[in-house]
Amino acid sequence: MKLLFIMVSNPYSNDFNSLVKFAEASLSRGHETNIFFMGNGLYSIVREEIKALAEKGAKIYYCAHNAEQRKIKPESWAESSSMYGLSKLIGEVDKVLIFD
C-alpha cells in the first residue's frame, strides 16, 4: 500500500520516535512510505534518523513556507512542497497518519 505520514509535532517529542518506528515498519513491509513535514514538525527534518529513512527509500516532503519561516534549509533528499502538494499526496495514498 501507499502510506503517508504527516509530521507536525514539536521536536524531541514522543511523536518523533513513533514517526521513525512507524516509517521503518512500513518500509520493512515493502510499502511506499511518504513523510510530509510541516509546522513545528519541520525542526525534525534535520535529524539523522530522517536521513536514514530517506536512504532506505522513504520519500520526504516538506512545506517550503514553514521551512522558510523557521529558517530551516532541508538537504537535497527532501522535496520542497506546499499545502497543495500535501493535498495531492493525500489523494494518491491509501492511508494517512498525522502526528501532531
Partner: protein, 80 residues
C-alpha cells in the same frame, strides 16, 4: 476485519463512545499505554509498553510491523 484503527497517544484520551463501532480497534502507543480502555478491542505497541515498564497481558502486545499490517487491512486509520 477492522473498520477504523484508532491510534491513541495520550493516557485516557480515547475517542468519544459514540465514535466507536464494534469492528473498530484501539491501538495504544506512547503514554497511552498507561491506561487500559473500556473497550475490548484494543492492542498496545510492545516497544512503547516495555520502554515504560508497564505490565499488560502478553496477548495484547504487538510490534510496529503488526500495526502496519492491521492498518493495511483496515478500512481507515485515525491518529486520535
Amino acid at each position: 476485519m477492522v473498520d477504523t484503527v484508532w491510534i491513541i497517544k495520550r493516557p485516557a484520551d480515547f475517542p468519544e463512545a459514540d465514535m466507536l463501532e464494534e469492528n473498530d480497534m484501539l491501538i495504544l502507543i506512547q503514554d497511552a499505554v498507561l491506561r487500559v480502555p473500556y473497550f475490548d478491542n484494543w492492542l498496545a505497541v510492545e516497544e512503547d509498553v516495555k520502554a515504560r515498564n508497564i505490565k499488560l497481558p502478553e496477548d495484547k502486545l504487538i510490534s510496529y510491523e503488526d500495526v502496519i499490517d492491521i492498518i493495511e487491512k483496515a478500512e481507515k486509520v485515525i491518529v486520535w
